[in-house]
Symmetry: C2
Subunit: 149 residues, 2 copies
Amino acid sequence: VATLRQLDKSTFIRTLVGVLDPTSDRPMHRQLADSIRDRIASGELAPGARLPSEMALEQETGLNRSTVRRAIEILRSEGLVDVRHPHGTFVRKRPAETVIEVSAGTIRARMPNPTERRAHGVPEGVPILVVDETIYPADRTALRIVPRD
Amino acid sequence: VATLRQLDKSTFIRTLVGVLDPTSDRPMHRQLADSIRDRIASGELAPGARLPSEMALEQETGLNRSTVRRAIEILRSEGLVDVRHPHGTFVRKRPAETVIEVSAGTIRARMPNPTERRAHGVPEGVPILVVDETIYPADRTALRIVPRD
DNA sequence: TCCCATTTGTGCGTATGTATC
DNA sequence: GGATACATACGCACAAATGGG
């Protein structure tokens, strides 16, 4: 198993490096973020999968750890990954979705402040849905419009 | 005018420093972000107002520029400020809100990816409202539920 | 046109702390 | 206690974009 995991990791990094272009106008941390984002979108990095550690990414991309961290920070702010200290960085799993039925009101969305984040258990990079005054974490809520009775 | 501006700036920084506690468990960059966020919430820093430059904040808080930048990054990811290179960092003005009337469908919210950000002109730290397949930038959109005809 | 000052952006390096196994 | 891995904080240098003179 150790051998297989090692192989998978090497493959991931090799292709990762393949798309990094130091001569590009696009900053390196954005390129790295793009690359990982693509792999998440394609399913190559499935929900729950762990990304290589910062040190591993640093070594195998040749980038500085700060640069690697900035890439991860981007994905974090997009709600794509979940950084668990000191376990690693994981592709976020979408929690089970609760459907809320609404038949009236005004709906907005925005990023929560830290107080709201704590109060409602909203992970980083996840907005909130605001129905009139009521707050729902957007990663686990869908609003369904239903005719008023 | 120069004198007045200088006075305002000094006042701002003094109070800013006043709430920074190096012995606290809370990281310095979060404390700084908290402090500025409070000032935005209270209206002391009105929409459109410019924050002190990174160098000014660095000098007057005694924090490193990287630490100052991390504080600003937090506010940015919350959609509170708008960083314009090389002009400075400004308290974000809420754009005029467009009310969309919906009478059916499913509504979700999430952070946009860079492609969607560009396509819909969504600033950083601003989520999108997704009505079935249609995307609306959440900073300028409110959805009003209306009875189906 | 060009230079300069200002301000944010990018990228590197280093050290130490904290949490978990 | 040690190993691992992320968190915080410092520092430095140079690039890029804009505006003023």
